[in-house]
Each structure stands twice: as C-alpha cells, then as structure tokens.
Symmetry: C2
Subunit: 142 residues, 2 copies
Amino acid sequence: MKMINREIGYAIKALCFMVIEEKDIATTSQMAAYFKISRPFLRKILQKLNKVGLLESHKGKNGGFKLALPISEIFLIDLIKIFQGPIKLSGCYKKDDDCPLIAECPIMSEIERLEKNFIADLAKISLKTIVEKKQIEEDQDQ
Amino acid sequence: MKMINREIGYAIKALCFMVIEEKDIATTSQMAAYFKISRPFLRKILQKLNKVGLLESHKGKNGGFKLALPISEIFLIDLIKIFQGPIKLSGCYKKDDDCPLIAECPIMSEIERLEKNFIADLAKISLKTIVEKKQIEEDQDQ
DNA sequence: CATAATGATACCGATATAGTATCATTAATG
DNA sequence: CATTAATGATACTATATCGGTATCATTATG
C-alpha cells in the first residue's frame, strides 16, 4: 500500500526545486536533468499541477513553470488528492450492501476514525514545512 | 488510495461470521452464500488465512474452517499485512538516490512519522474490538 | 522563420486486483 | 467402498492502474 507514488514524489521534487533554486521560471528539461528522471513524464506531472492552479506555465522560448501560490499554501495532502484522488483508506462495504452481518459496519467506522486523524495530520504539512526543514538540516550540517 | 481491498474486506466478513454464528466450523459455501460473494475467491482468501495460521482447516466431508486464535489476538493490521504486504505509505525516494535536492529527505521523515502513528492506531483494532462494537450497537437497537 | 518551450492526446508494457477453472487430496457416511 | 462434500494447490484470465513514451499542435523569443 503506497500513498506517495512516483508522480507525487516527482511533483514534490519539482516544487522544491522551484523554491530552493529561486529561479523565476524553471523548465521541465532543467528539472528532469537535475533529478535524472524522465522528462516527458515530469512534463505530464507539471501540466497537471498547472491545470489545478498550483503552477503557472509560460509557453514559447524561455518559457517554463513557476509556483502560482506561496509555499505556505501548497499542502502535501493536495498533491495526494491530485494524483491519487480522494483519500479513502477503506474501500467500503457499506454501500456494497447485501452484507447481512454488518449493517452499520463497525470495522469501517473504526477505519474512518483513523482515517480522519491521519488526514488531519497530513493536512498540516505544507511545502514550507518541507523546505524549511531542509534549511534547518543544512544549517546543522555546517 | 485504498488500504482495505476486497480480499481484506471479505476476510473480515468471514472472520466475523465465524465468531458471531458460533458454529464450530464454517464452510466456504455457507459464507459465500451468506454474503453473496464469489465462492472460489473467498476460498482462496481462507486458504491464505489458513496458511498464515489464523484459521484451522479441515478437509473432507463436514470439513471447513475455524478460528485458530482467540478473537482478541487477531488484529486488523495483520490482515492488511497478509493481503497488502507491509504498510509503506511512502514509496521512498531516499534509496532511489541520485536525488541531489533532498539528501536526508525531509518529506519522507514527515510521512514516516505520520505512518508510525497510524500503524500504532491500527494495531489496536482486533477482531474482538470489531465484534464487540457490533454487539453494543445491537443492544442499543433493542 | 527557427528554436525552444508547453498543451493535448494517444499509446504501451508491467504489475496488481479480482476473480475463474481444474485437478488432487481427504474425510464422513450410507 | 464408492459417493459426496469439503479443502489444497496451481494456472489462467480480464480489467484497471502505474509509469512511462511518442506525436502533433500551439506559442513566444530572437
């Protein structure tokens, strides 16, 4: 069971790149080369982030992508939703119905409780959290 | 993102059946009919539960399955591990390496912290919890 | 007008999910 | 002791998702 798949992983890397490199605009080629990952695949990911409004895109020569929001407003949970759809830990067998054993399914209500806590925790992590944590670690290294 | 897939869902149903019906031994046919689910598929699931020691099986006429452990010792997290493998919310890009941006990946350390809490919560839910919760709900209905 | 970027889409191979199908084995029982 | 009814083991299949690749269109710079 994975929650952070490759798309999300690459999306995070690209976003971090844009913050830390402090470039006005970054291209797919630059980032794909930097991280040594598939360029067309990254491109598709960035296009998706553009569509949902997390990035701005600029076509033509010298074009590329840049952040459309302050880093404190980009949350990990958003990326998960974008690439994995809504978080549903349970497949749910309530609506499957025809389940005579468990009318008001007790398993699912337990799972859903966990799920809520988990999502609440997840919703606290922004790109800012991530990048700043990195800064702190770098400072400690020196 | 789903954590409870159909195999796990069916496994839970079957286990609950065995507890609540208080039969000495239950057959695949009975349970598949009761829940209106695929018999051969359920069979495969029960065979797996038998192999890992959660069920005892008895071959031949009047054979079937029964619980091999007290219900307080069967945990939801075990079922998840059996059918989904180890829980890994992160795909992890640490060992992917070649990631120049994030050497001691701060995203993953955040995710891993969440992951630990989540698993700890999950580990508390046993078949007993589930079944007893059901009893309580039934009592309230009356 | 050439070049270098994104936009949109269609395709593709590998893996996972949710089964189905068969044959072998085993135990009860009439 | 043969029939029946159960599991054991294993192979096959259809569909969806994941991680890409490939193309062509569009757009902006110089």
